[in-house]
Symmetry: D3
């Protein structure tokens, strides 16, 4: 059982901001695919890894919806579609984005996009890189990512967002916003109490995600969505972002 557990221990859940998929071409996606391939292949030889040097890392990626999700949701909302159905549209766009990343990863990726936690488990059991989109209406991709991290027993959940990490106020509005190096889930909840859950809205850790990482004690980091930063935090444990502590 020990051996089995430690092999499962090498999974890393990475939530990718929808921005990665919002470009006019695939150049940005390609960069992230290269980074994921590096993590996948180099993990066993990386000596400074925080994880046992012999462990191979298996990325489980969750793609956001981004610009095209907002496009579809905006039009459908103008037609009066209910919010739950808008969520479903967002999920479907995130699954198309997942397909692009799978195409960019080639044989290293599991070929299908899983549609629920059971399919995630089956996909992960192949040992390949798994790329998912959203799973359930009413649930942000952040919350979904945390649930996936819980289900696959991930050693880390990396939430790659559009900002450098969690600030004490919105850095896009407040120039003096201070970045937390570490934050407790309790502090987080206080900060995020007013967050907007409209489909396609503000893209950071939310209350459900927080509860999941809290109840299962999942090591979590919020970080800017840049390949080099993500690679560094995973392979070398050098985090330039916000670590969530319990």
């Amino acid at each position: 059982m020990e051996a089995t557990k430690s092999s499962k221990s090498s999974r890393v859940v990475i939530k990718l901001s929808g921005k990665v998929f919002s470009g006019d071409d695939g150049s940005e996606i390609k960069k992230f695919a290269s980074m994921l391939a590096t993590i996948y292949s180099d993990s066993s030889s990386s000596s400074s890894s925080s994880i046992s040097p012999s462990a191979k890392l298996q990325p489980i990626v969750v793609a956001g919806g981004g610009r095209i999700a907002r496009h579809y949701i905006g039009i459908a909302r103008s037609f009066g579609l209910d919010e739950a159905s808008l969520d479903i549209i967002g999920i479907e766009v995130s699954r198309l984005n997942a397909k692009l990343l799978i195409a960019a990863l080639g044989e290293k990726a599991y070929p299908s996009v899983p549609r629920d936690l059971e399919q995630i488990t089956e996909a992960a059991s192949t040992g390949r890189i798994v790329v998912s989109g959203g799973l359930h209406p009413g649930q942000s991709t952040n919350a979904t990512s945390a649930l996936i991290a819980e289900k696959v027993g991930a050693v880390r959940f990396v939430n790659a967002t559009d900002v450098e990490g969690i600030y004490d106020s919105d850095p896009r509005k407040n120039k003096n916003a201070r970045l937390y190096a570490e934050i407790t889930t309790k502090q987080c909840r206080d900060l995020l109490g007013g967050e907007n859950s409209m489909a396609g809205g503000y893209d950071l850790m939310d209350i459900v995600a927080l509860k999941v990482i809290e109840r299962s004690k999942i090591p979590t980091i919020v970080i800017k969505s840049e390949p080099e930063l993500i690679r560094n935090v995973i392979l070398n444990n050098k985090a330039i972002g916000t670590k969530i502590i319990f």
Copy 2:
């Protein structure tokens, strides 16, 4: 279109506490089935209804998990099963509970338990009483009920719980807890910030449910899970509980 919309307007989502399904026999379930049948049949003739006297009411019920969910979850957690999988077990027990209520309702109920929002929509379109259990891991039956209310365009969401409504502190611990007649979603969020989301835990309005009823402005009432009280609030608009306002 007007006519169609008003016909859809007659749906009422009722979340039933798992306690209803926790007895050793089916007597409690039977009482709730009678109440639901009354709402379903009598709605058109009830003159004091807050809803247009000619409108027929269609209950969409969401069953909780209750004692047997806690039994299964407790054992599985002792075996080290992850929380997401425990959620799934809770959902499956709630679906068995839904089957009992469907059996008690006979021909008045849609015969199957829907498994996602699309199936809810199809079931509701038959005009019969629909009985669902939970839908997604990581989502309380309260949140699921709010999403369902949003999806089917419900005129009201009745959250039947184990207490009289929302108090300013836990009435099971604090004798002087004060019951709100009305509460804003903002006040609610402040009160519920510390709520525990462990599967099978405390059973009341939660943060996701609040956001959904807020974003879609769904008239919501939290009420003690007693057939007569539920009948009264729905048919006669006499609420002895807590109304959530925006």
Copy 3:
């Protein structure tokens, strides 16, 4: 049986060019939704209809992929994804487009997007407007539309494209291209022999579509994708386009 057959006879399959869904907002989609609603509601009172005046018309619509399909397919192809998988991506975008049209139609539309011919049949049996996207990889939405017309026993197949109808040469390249008022399937086949089936390519009648309409003798018209033209050809039988004859 006669009565039953004539009730089924009132279905019209309309293939909508992906262009309808390529705008930055939903204004174009809204116009097509209004037109479809008119056909659906007014068909019984329209006196100059070619169809029995008492027959109600049920539109079965097939949405194309358009600009966003080309966006996803272009990126995925640059990653080396195989053509069959590109087809599947195109189908999924066309299904998202179908969702927008369903949202715009509201209660008049069947709420889900069918995924195969069996689901088309079930959706059509509700009597509502059905909106589908593509169904199978390797099959253009034109061919799919013809198969759907065959399966639901449509009285007409209206193929709404980006040009006025079928020309003797590509009107986008040849200023003197002549529009056919009528064309035989044989002539059609000669013209279209060199057509490109790359996913997301040229959008007109193709060889498989031709064979299906030929084997089942489905009255077909190729017409420019403008709401007023489509309405006119269906309700008043005034075709400004190309009629395909056998």
Copy 4:
């Protein structure tokens, strides 16, 4: 082909009485999980095994419904639900029980509960311990277990029941009932002619199970549901129960 056949030859189907899952805690389930893990791991080193010493044994387990199945079925029957639907409820409870055993087995078990014979085959092909519940209404878990044994080409079917084996009369009613060491399928059929097939009723070999093991000549033993006995009969071929012969 020889090699392949002998690898498939190492499957053992074990039907576990619902009683295993009827306790208030998971202690009983835990004992059976340990026993199954032992069979799974130790089979290659066990020298006195009746099976080739180098063969690894793969248990395919079928969980019964037990106390909670009877609880749900009893209530639903009191509501007048038809027997076929009661069977389905029993199957769903047996699947929840299967989930508990899977949780107790951890990584050694296939993570999902298969829902039909095709899924059993796929699950078994992973080489892990497979845990199923019932499959079809109108079919006892005994009959289902025999079919599964047939489908996976099991070398043995162990039917673990609440009694020591097959008696010449019901040992719970008749103190002098005699236990068969061996019994022919013909004798079995004579004995079981009067068996009650009411859902949730008497839990032993039934007529369909008998026919299946007869037509496919599956070595079968009926034995008391105790971990040590099951382990002994499988690893050491020491049967304290009733062997069914042809």
Copy 5:
């Protein structure tokens, strides 16, 4: 509730021998389709019916496998395929046969072949003639038909076979075999104790079917598979066959 119950009371389950589907052309199927259409349409006007004169009868038909099932099963068995998989092949051929009968019935039939008891219920709720094939491996179409009768609350189960009814010995071997006008389920069980359940084998009432009709007290008749006989027993209650009594 009374009204609802009596509307459900008008269902008749008819099991059709695979022989109906074994001809080189469709002439035999056509005769049975005409008979079923007559029962479906004429039932309300038939004055001598044993059922309330105002009740409309809804046939629920179960098609057997016949000659082509035996062809496929014979070849697959010669390749060593296991019996459970052979059962599945037989079921699939019976579903193809069901499709032929659906085609012959046209609009009067539900368009799809249901695949489990839930789908049977949904299909039956449309009020159309439902045509099923087998459902589960290890279960004869007789047993399946009895389960379906139980599930849909049929007023009668007509088992149309290749012989005139139930004899005291096999009439194909024994010239002096005596036909029962009535037989108890107990007598039946004694007679059928030695029956062969090999897939594609002897085609009459079996032990599982008997238990189902016994536990749910379903009025059952075994009759020769001739359209006129079936029509007569259903519309005029004139049975030339064997009535099973309890």
Copy 6:
């Protein structure tokens, strides 16, 4: 990636004429199974192979419908069933045929018949011989085979038909018909322009298949459906048939 690509490179798609499955017994199927097993096992040791000597070949087979498909389609068409539904019946018979070949191949074959391109991919990833039937209505098994070849990245597509290859006129009607050793896709299209796509009709390369092999440059050969010929062209690159060139 190189290594991965070359491992995927060893797939060969073989389309088997329905004639293989049209015999009264399984002797013909058995011969083809032996041939496939030889290709599967011997490929690595075959020195004269056109493929790298160390590559193992994985056959992906597509079974046609043959005599029994024509039997069902003929009857259903006489009942007026639409052509799209006839296609579906043909597909289902081809899947039964696929099951026979799987049975004949035993453990060397993937145990299930895939139902869409995603399932083909998953089945192929197991490394076993995959046997499919048709996939989509409106698509010949030739076109489906070409799509499958595209999806799995096949190194070759062998289309085994009832004639020796592609002739300049129908060899069954014209004694002097000339067999092409090579033919361009352009020539092919000219020849096949008049082909009949009625379900169950003439069985050779069609327009959709041609476009797929053209757009993905799939090396294709049309050859008489004889085991020895197929084995020779695949293992020794000795083609007695028609090579399609671009």
